[in-house]
Amino acid sequence: MAFVEQLISNLLYGAILGSVYGLATMGLSLIFGVLRIVNVGHGAFIMVGAFIAYWMFILYGIPPLISLFLAIAVGMAIGLAIYMLVVKRLVDAPELASLLAMFAIGIFIEEFAKQIWGADYVGYSWEIGGVSMLFTEVPFTKLLAFASSIVIAAVVYVWFRKTKIGKAVRAVVEDREGATTCGIDVSRIYALSFSLGIGLTVLSGVLVTLFTPVGINVYMGGEYTLKAFVIAVLGGLASPWGAFYAGFIFGLIENGSYTLLGLIPGVEPFGLTRFLSSVVLMLVLLVKPTGLLGGE
């Protein structure tokens, strides 16, 4: 019946959307986890990624999947520069001082981008067809976004958990002074984590364009910042893959609950799905105050 069919196709789209939400949050979590910096300028970096995808496609016809590599490289370079110029000097300052700095940096990037790219909405169209599955049509571009999100998240997970440098990052998080006595160059770990976090964020901006190819605009990031924050908490904040996992759940809730909320008369079900995700967030935190995958 139609109800079930719609529910299933909504969940399918929710999962795809969620994977990109998740990826768009990982960088935020990484930076918070290691440096305790709340990157309120998050969205600006997503915007940079979106523009990279756009220009690569328009100027050279390079498909977004290839641009991912460029995006992470550019992102890491920007991240490193910001770290060296600003963040490094605020490592020992009160936590919120860096929030202010990231706020200013976010504004700066947006305004700078506006000077060179203008405030217009732009977009591109990468058409590679689609497939009919589970009662609905899904374009290949979205499936690719889905698959690459998962691959990237997995790579980050392995890097973090299994490599020595990944473990060093954790050690620095735990105790900076202790890490120095082990011979870990704390400043390098910070620089690396910060630039990787920005790199991942810029990269996720590329994948975002597979969803809203024409929504590319210098101010497009705000929406994602907000969502990423919520997802980050749901996932346990300091844990990048927790963020990924939570993004997934978030996408499912947002899209999945639509069909059910539509049964209530006299309301706007799509708006209520957002309300519901906030409620779910609060409930999760009530039961498990450190988020779904948070430590103790």
Binding site: K164, A168, A171, E174, E177, T180, T181, C182, G183, I184
Partner: protein, 234 residues
């Protein structure tokens, strides 16, 4: 092995150390004694590089290391067991030890170091997969020493390693330090436990209000009633 000349340092605007001269001989135990607040910890922190020296020169195995960052010093075989332990609280005991062997040089000797550490502190082996933050105070102190050993150092700076340990363990820690010396390590120790540390040390410095008030062999300290009365309160 370690040669410190005219070292000055402090926090913010406040100078704590004034022209510190000291020397640590290879394969010896050198202890720095002195009242609280004299600047003992500050000396160790400045030598290790957690604090930037204001002035002076630090030489280690013939190299000028005055302004090297700490991790470079670890690479050269120096490490610090800091006051307050600074363990990775949410990581397991094993992972803490693993992090100790972070540098390539140490990683190559991981197995040997681990064996040494577990033989010195069998209790750590029992608690291998417990999170460091939940260890008792004494266990944490053992882990801090053990982690330092994992860097396979030549010179260990230790800031009050016996603090907070049960009497039986205090004895063990001092014995361990002696054993480490036998293993060929050099130790620069800061201690409050005057008697026990003089027992095991070869050389002693007495720090008073940020200046070296006395330096010499342990026997010299023991013989000088004046030093003992004036600076050690015994």
């Amino acid at each position: 092995m370690l040669n410190v000349k005219d070292l000055q340092s402090g926090y913010g605007e406040m100078q704590v150390l004034w022209d510190i001269d000291l020397e640590v001989k290879e394969k010896s135990i050198t202890v720095i004694l002195g009242p609280n607040g004299a600047g003992k910890s500050t000396t160790l922190k400045t030598i290790f590089g957690t604090l930037k020296p204001w002035n002076g020169r630090i030489e280690y195995i013939g190299q000028d290391i005055t302004f090297l960052p700490p991790h470079k010093k670890v690479e050269l075989g120096m490490t610090l067991v800091p006051e307050g332990r600074h363990l990775f609280s949410n990581m397991t005991v094993k992972d803490n030890l693993y992090m100790g062997a972070y540098l390539k040089r140490a990683e190559e000797r991981f197995e040997d170091s681990l064996e040494l550490v577990y033989s010195l502190f069998p209790r750590l082996k029992e608690r291998e997969s417990q999170k460091a933050g939940t260890l008792s105070g004494g266990e944490q102190q053992m882990l801090a020493i053990a982690r330092a050993l994992m860097t396979s150092p030549n010179l260990i700076l230790m800031d009050e390693p016996s603090q907070g340990l049960a009497p039986k363990l205090v004895k063990e820690v001092f014995e361990t330090i002696l054993k480490l010396k036998d293993e060929g390590l050099t130790i620069l120790l800061v201690e409050q436990n005057v008697f026990a540390s003089l027992e095991i040390s070869d050389y002693a410095y007495i720090l008073h209000e940020g200046k070296i008030a006395f330096g010499g062999t342990v026997d010299e300290v023991k013989e000088s009633e004046e030093v003992k009365r004036a600076y050690l309160g015994v």
